[in-house]
Amino acid sequence: MSDPLFEYLCRLGDNTLVLGHRVSEWCGVAPVLEEDIALANVALDLIGQTQLWLGLAGEVEGDGRDADRLAFHRDVWDFRNVLLVEQPNGDFGQTMMRQFLFDTWHLSMLKALAGSSHEQIAAIAEKSVKEVTYHLERSTDTVIGLGDGTEESHDRMQKALDRLYPFVGEMFLSDDIDAAMVTQGIAPDPASLRKAFDAQLDAVLAEATLTKPADDFAHKGGKTGARHTEHLGHMLTQMQWLQRAYPDASW
């Protein structure tokens, strides 16, 4: 098995990379101009954070792979993102529900990482917290606005929540990689973030007049790389198209 720190950094970087790419798919086709701009801004922040996480992963690995190499020259089975972020955009409501669920987890994870014993991880997290605070503010407002909106928007948000909730649990699963990070004071145990997440989720869903699914079943296999959903491979054929067709092409 490769270095746990490298694996861990790939998890962080692949989450932001895959979600950043997904969100960027809205560029030019969002329902209104302001939302188009906001989505593009969020995607840009996430891709920027990816450069930092995967850049550091490459340094830790020490095999000469940089952020671009890791992003564009790995195939599905090497990706370590949680399954939630690779789910397709669906309608605007589904995109914003996915964003809200991820942002809520992301911000609390980054706040914990800002106190990491690893200086570079702490610095990247400190930087990212500022950006993700704005992401969460917007996704929370949108989930509430559309949930407690018209009958149509309410129904779509409930469907989005029902569709995506089974992917929430994976963000809080702990494994050997997490345990190694906890031992070294590098990162928190993801399970320890669940209680605060649930409280925040319940409060927002109540305001949004949405109902949390009763079943806590959780799909898993994304962050370990054991089994991604079929959607990631399709996304990579788009995202990695240029490097697959013209390996090592550069500007």
């Binding site: 701009i37 840009l44 920027g48 930092l52 400190e126 704005y134």
Partner: protein, 155 residues
């Protein structure tokens, strides 16, 4: 010791003449992203912090710094990226804030929203979106003159 290295104050003055590529009315030093300038033996080390991690202007800024300093005869130059402490809009200089307002971009305020419309100075303003034409800006609208305007948002 006789040295022909330019003084650090001189280098700071040169850098204060380099405009931000996206908002050219303010300089890189107005923006507060140049964190340090120092000589390491015969190499000039300029420490720069990014505004937003994905801001596409970052690589252009590095290029502009290099071009400006090379034009002044600096041969050995090293650009260092510093992430922590993370950039904050508190580092914008007062001159920078004034120039932004004059340019039509409301400068950041501790309260979290613009003090007034940069065009007609009305305090009746409303938020359109926390995200704007660049990562560092939000979109606001003046309820008096009805013009939309950019607000340089606090981070």
């Amino acid at each position: 010791m006789v040295t022909d290295q330019p003084a650090l104050e001189t280098v700071w003055a040169w850098l204060s003449a380099v405009p931000d590529p996206e908002i050219p009315v303010i300089s890189l030093t107005d923006l507060g992203i140049i964190r340090d300038v120092a000589w390491d033996d015969d190499t000039l080390v300029v420490t720069v912090t990014p505004t937003y991690s994905g801001c596409p202007a970052t690589s252009i800024i590095n290029l502009d710094i290099e071009t400006a300093l090379r034009a002044k005869g600096i041969e050995k130059l090293s650009l260092k990226r510093q992430l922590s402490p993370a950039w904050t809009t508190d580092w914008l200089t007062d001159t920078g804030r004034a120039k932004l307002e004059e340019y039509g971009i409301a400068p950041p305020q501790p309260a979290g929203g613009p003090k007034q419309c940069p065009l007609c100075k009305s305090t009746q303003v409303e938020k359109i979106s926390q995200f704007g034409s660049t990562p560092c800006k939000a979109q606001w609208r003046c309820q008096s003159c009805l013009e939309p305007f950019d607000y340089f948002k606090c981070i």
